[in-house]
Amino acid sequence: MNAPVTLPGCSQPDSAQEARPVLRERGQREVFCGLTGIVWLHRKMQDAFFLVVGSRTCAHLLQSAAGVMIFAEPRFATAIMEERDLAGMVDAQDELDRVVTRLLDRRPDIKTLFLVGSCPSEVIKLDLAKAAERLGAQHMPNVRILNYSGSGIETTFTQGEDACVTALVPVMPAESADAPKQLLIVGALPDIVEDQFLRLFDQLGIDNVGVLPARDARNLPPVGPNTCYLLAQPFLADTAMALEGRGAKRIDALFPFGAEGTTGWLHAAAAEFGIDEAHFNAVVAPGRERAKRAIGHARGALEGKRISFLPDSQLEIPLARFLATELGMEPVEVGTPYLHRAHCAQELDLIPPSARISEGQHVDRQLDRVRADKPDLTVCGLGLANPLESEGFSTKWAIELVFSPIHGFDQAGDLAELFARPLRRRDVLEV
């Protein structure tokens, strides 16, 4: 029925070792580029400033993705390349020096500056690593200058965070081989959620806990062979590789969404640190029960409902698992821009085999499938939501799942509510 046939024009799955077939698609992608991550990263790292080296399009994207101009003077900006930069009338590196100096003069509060590469800067091969090194030499110790690429030709939406956090890994202090075992939580979380997790690890008896990215980008946790890292986000493939390059070891776990996901996530860490099972249960039980109660409010609206995810943030796989296992929803298609099989292995095992997993996007064909599948709820980007609503489909904006606190026990009810609200609203409206 939902057999993973390869649709005409789609690349063949590389079969053989694949446990679960995946529909791979290539075509127009209706997703943000990695620059968009700046919208939340600049709030997370309060001493950091993000300078995109790009075009007017990049500046316009950031302003549009940030919704309205919320922050009078945000900690990000775009150095817009102009004709003279491209025509070689001026040296782009000199121009960059000029812009950075002006910026740092005006904002002495900046302690870390990210030079962020974009599609145009990558295409003209503007060497931002070199620029970061040169400018860093000038401005250290006051300002540390790092670089990464959030370009659309290399990164999809949340991969921008992956690239940014990856850039932090080389400047993390080195932990010696005989240092005590350390837990490192990886992935930008809202401060309130991060604090909840830190309290739980503390109660569990894991006291040596670091967080990456840290709120203060100049005060990063150390990393070394005795570091075990726990991913809080499913989109951190490069960060994970970089951490392993520094000797850290990944704790395989479910992602902390819902009562069971959060329990599984905490349990993986507890097991790694040899925490007593009874103690674990005692610490986790109250939160887990609270989460179940909170989730219960949305069950009536969601149970038995069919849901399709269009690719957006790579959160799709764990969220589909949460909705299937804890709310009784039926995932019809779970689309993700990129599927990391190792990081999502446990998640994939829990998604019902009837669900079609797709990777990449050909938006027109995918919309054809939505129209054929007729799911009760479609999770998609802002460009597609209203058009689908006007065709009669209920939708959930995917971006809200990235911009809202949804991890952990005490957000599980909010997470469920995000999916229940569009359905409830549809039922309540009489116009």
Partner: protein, 521 residues
Amino acid sequence: MQLSVWTYEGPPHVGAMRIATAMEGLHYVLHAPQGDTYADLLFTMIERRGKRPPVTYTTFEARDLGKDTAQLFQDAATEAAERFKPEAMIVGASCTAELIQDDPGGLIEAMDLPCPAIPLELPSYQRKENWGAAETFYQVVRHLADKNVTREPREGRKARANILGPTALGFRHRDDLVEIRKIIETLDVEINLVAPLDARPSDIARIGAADFNIVLYPEIADEAARWLERTFKQPTIRTIPIGVSATRAFISDVAEVAGADPTPALGDNQSRMPWWSRSVDSTYLTGKRVFIFGDATHAVAAARIARDELGFEVCGLGCYNREFAREVREAAKLYGVEPLITDDHLAVEEAIIEAAPEMVLGTQMERHIAKRLGMPCAVISSPVHVQDFPARHSPQMGFEGANVIFDSWVHPLVMGLEEHLLTMFREDFEFSDEAGASHHAAHSPQQPAKAQVATVAVPEDIAEPANDANLWTSEAERELKKIPFFVRGKARRNTEAFAIDQGRAQIDLDTLYDAKAHYAR
């Protein structure tokens, strides 16, 4: 390189999208990397359109570079033609695709597409959104207009007009068009075509059948209108009917070109603005100092209304689109102000602080600036925001537009009697500076909100000033604080300038009131 936090305009291909989205049956194949699809949400979220913009993005990735991006473009074009069956296509490149030089126009020529394809050259590193929209509309008209369709002799038929300029994501274009249609119909003129909004490529073919063109938004349609003047010898009406007198002038101009009687249209009894403005409760509007910034067309119109129809004083005027700077410079001369032509919102903020206006008429950008400075503000121009697409009818053009403008500019102001009470009873705790006018959100008595207002960095001139080198006696300083906060900055600077001019070493009560008399208007 230009350091930019917020921008007034998007890149030129977004302008092209505005034309494609406004029209029916036109499809845009855009050579662009992943991520450029963000622009779709401008239309589906800000304008709340229920349809995806008719744009196919080729979505190339790093691994495609130097290999088959040209093929990718041709495949996307073929597929779009099959799937959407457009009457015509426009093809072009976004900023990144411009750098890889695949030449979409050349590629499309080599293909056997079932519909006409119009190549666009939109230099992303030199030009911006409005220019991109104008150039696209011009190319669409130039390619699709059937030169054999020209106007027939006038005998025995009504005059025909094309209405040019309304487009997607335009500031109140939808509602302006309703008002303009009313006027044109009252004049018994036939509308040959409205474009680009809701026009099909096949409609554009008969653009030459009109007797004349009406350009409502020069930023979008002037380029095309100039070509139509040359090609079809169609005269152009360029009067922008924003404000009562401009609407009257517009009616007269259309009537003259159409050979129609303007009387019925001029006699519109729905025009309330002139009486509302003459009504004695509006006396307090006299001489209010307003700072105006927006696109050139709306800014110039706003300045005219401000001075001639509401009795304000224009203390600043500018626009962000250099292409129309000349119009703003000319207008600025009329009002005796320095024109501000810039797309740097920080420069606009500085100019506003410097001018210390009593009200700002601007874009969403100026709305934010004014909010931070605690000044009343009304929005008069794009860039648009979801709030600029109200559910109700809310035009800027025509007599009803003038009514709407009266309301939306006057409501943010502190009302006449309230202003006097604020001045007379400054010591009343409910009239503290932080409170502001009663109809402003900032007035709400919640302490946290107030605290927030207080933490916003307000420039020194507007907020409590530092006692500058003991120039002010403490008595004069106390007196200064009794002046309403929204004019205090100006009063301080005037008094200081006066003191320097008069060679007074200190500002005491007498100096303060001498200065007040000196600057009295």
